[in-house]
């Protein structure tokens, strides 16, 4: 597969990696189908539709039907990748995701596009920052949030080979590939981005590259920060969190999501019950104002300086 073209300055739209990977997989495995809700363009599935017109099932603007249809396609032996704006896919069809996909354990891959606050200017109806909290408790469903184009391709390949329901959360915000040597994708495991001993920055999705930059900046201040890429929100890699808590004694979580019930919530739940340490949760506190994604990140401190500040706060809260 050709590497996705750089948008600017080495930043990439992960949707290109998603679409190219799915096309390559579909070429090799006729069971793979795509299901969309009038979302061919925003899902970048125009190429898929051209190559496999019969296997692109567009149900129109009908998300409950879309998710139910995908359960039926799985019953009929297909591997459906359901791609739609995540705000509608998860919110509008939540009961179908619960009953038809997760509880029924159907082999369906739900792909939430333009997640987080990618649709910033369109306002909270179009923000998808509640999806983690909605889906995390649904037991069987793996919730996975790739951080860059390389990981997006790996996650799509893994999802196709994994027998069981998956929610794959994508953005449309350009991100750089993480600078990690000899990278190997390990499903459902936290990825060590940067080793450290004073504090652990646990990030996912669009926030991981910012956490990595923050760790480098903290080094200059004499603070050794561990960075974990927690691509899988459910099930949580509890061993990695336990090691972070016991070995660094303070944690910062960073996510493009509501701080209630998401990555920060998962980490806080685990540490509170097992290894209580200070946990600073970075993200959004609830509905956020309308504004560009860049403005929202700045406004809510989802920036390198913001992460540095939270890391210092977490370290300051450590018990002597």
């Amino acid at each position: 597969m050709a590497a996705p073209a750089a948008k600017q300055d080495g930043y990439f739209d992960c949707r290109d990696a998603w679409a190219q990977t799915l096309e390559a997989l579909a070429e090799a495995d006729p069971r793979i189908v795509a299901v969309v809700n009038d979302s061919v363009g925003s899902s970048k599935l125009g190429g898929f539709q051209k190559r496999f017109p019969e296997r692109l099932i567009n149900v129109g603007i009908a998300e409950q039907n879309m998710v139910g249809v995908s359960a039926g396609l799985a019953n009929g032996g297909r591997i459906p990748f359901v791609s739609a704006a995540s705000c509608f896919l998860t919110g509008r069809a939540l009961e179908q995701i619960k009953a038809d996909i997760a509880y029924a354990n159907f082999n369906v891959k739900l792909v939430g596009q333009s997640s987080g606050v990618a649709y910033g200017e369109l306002g909270p109806t179009h923000h998808s920052i509640e999806d983690f909290a909605w889906l995390r408790p649904l037991g069987a469903i793996t919730v996975v949030v790739p951080s860059d184009p390389w990981e997006t391709a790996e996650v799509v390949k893994w999802a196709a080979s994994h027998e069981g329901p998956v929610y794959l959360r994508l953005s449309r915000m350009p991100v750089p590939n993480l600078d990690i040597a000899d990278r190997k994708f390990q499903p459902r495991r936290a990825e060590l981005v940067h080793q450290g001993r004073d504090v652990t920055l646990i990030a996912c999705g669009t926030m991981v590259h910012l956490a990595a930059k923050a760790a480098l900046a903290l080094t200059a201040d004499g603070i050794s920060a561990r960075v974990l890429n927690m691509a899988t929100i459910n099930p949580l890699d509890e061993a990695a969190v336990a090691a972070a808590a016991s070995e660094t004694g303070a944690i910062v979580t960073i996510e493009e999501a509501n701080i209630h019930g998401g990555l920060g919530g998962a980490v806080a739940e685990f540490t509170a019950g097992n290894l209580p340490v200070p946990v600073e949760r970075m993200g959004f506190p609830g509905f956020v104002p309308t504004g560009s994604v860049e403005w929202l990140f700045e406004h809510f401190g989802l920036t390198v300086p913001g992460i540095i500040k939270a890391a210092n706060t977490a370290i300051g809260r450590k018990r002597p």
Partner: protein, 275 residues
């Protein structure tokens, strides 16, 4: 695969009678259930399992099997007794109905019970799933047919109409919807709650072929459900006029029997009537 024989109608009636008696005992023992809706649907479901559907109960995952989805998932008395009578599992399983950790939940789960195609219970889920199965059959150029049974009150859920629109547009002739038209929902009549009539015209407008039958007339049900799609290039909607609580005098047409449960005296009366 099941084979039809000359005594098909008599066999179906026998099975339906056994299903009514066994379902009522199940509800009586558990003191939980939805017997009114079970009894309006039982003749339809018996007709499907013992006269129409092609399946092998010993191989529930057979790719070429016909699919049946019980969208009105609360009517477990009808579905569970049918699957049992069809040989998917032994009768003693029925005695565990709604007991702790039973495979026979208050609503069907595909992972616990062989023969259950998808989870139902929350209303309006069966149609979209059936649509997906029918699309998969079309993609695979398979001969299997997909049947889905909804309650009439259930059609007040919008997801059904999303699926109905899709099925009509896709001309899915391998898909059959059966509406259990007993005209009662949990609290009162469907027409006084949020009326559905003219239901046949609604489906025709969505691109379906519609048949209206007496949902307790086994021969009539066999005629419409057993007929192969042939040249028909539309999904089939069978509006089955039924009676909630059909077969037990004190239950018939009573909304209160939607999830009413019998006391010992009522149980005895019903058993005397169901012969």
């Amino acid at each position: 695969m099941t084979m039809l024989n000359n005594d098909t109608v008599a066999t179906i009636r026998d099975k339906a009678l056994w299903m009514r008696r066994r379902a009522f005992r199940m509800v009586f023992d558990a003191q939980l259930g939805h017997p009114g809706g079970d009894f309006s649907a039982i003749d339809i479901i018996a007709t499907l399992y013992f006269g129409v559907l092609r399946y092998d109960a010993k191989k529930p995952e057979l790719a070429e099997r016909d699919r049946f989805i019980m969208s009105k998932g609360h009517a477990t008395g009808a579905l569970y007794t049918a699957l049992c009578a069809a040989g998917y599992y032994p009768e003693d399983w029925l005695s565990t109905y709604m007991q702790p950790s039973s495979r026979l939940n208050g609503h069907p789960n595909r992972n616990y019970l062989p023969g259950v195609e998808t989870n139902t219970g929350p209303l309006g889920h069966g149609m979209p799933v059936a649509l997906g199965i029918a699309i998969a059959g079309q993609l695979a150029k398979s001969e299997y047919r997909t049947f889905v049974l909804t309650g009439d009150g259930e059609l007040q859920e919008g997801s059904n109409w999303e699926a109905a629109m899709s099925a009509g547009n896709r001309k899915l002739s391998n898909l059959t919807l059966i509406v259990d038209r007993n005209r009662l929902q949990q609290g009162m009549g469907t027409e006084e709650t949020n009326g559905l009539d003219p239901l046949d015209d609604k489906f025709r407008a969505f691109g379906w072929h519609v048949e209206i039958v007496d949902g307790h007339d086994v021969q009539a049900l066999l005629n419409v459900l057993g007929a192969a799609p042939g040249a028909r290039s539309k999904p089939l909607c069978v509006i089955a006029d039924t009676i909630k609580g059909k077969g037990v005098s004190f239950m018939e047409n009573k909304a209160s029997w939607h999830h009413g449960v019998p006391n010992a005296e009522q149980f005895d009366i019903a058993m005397k009537e169901l012969v």
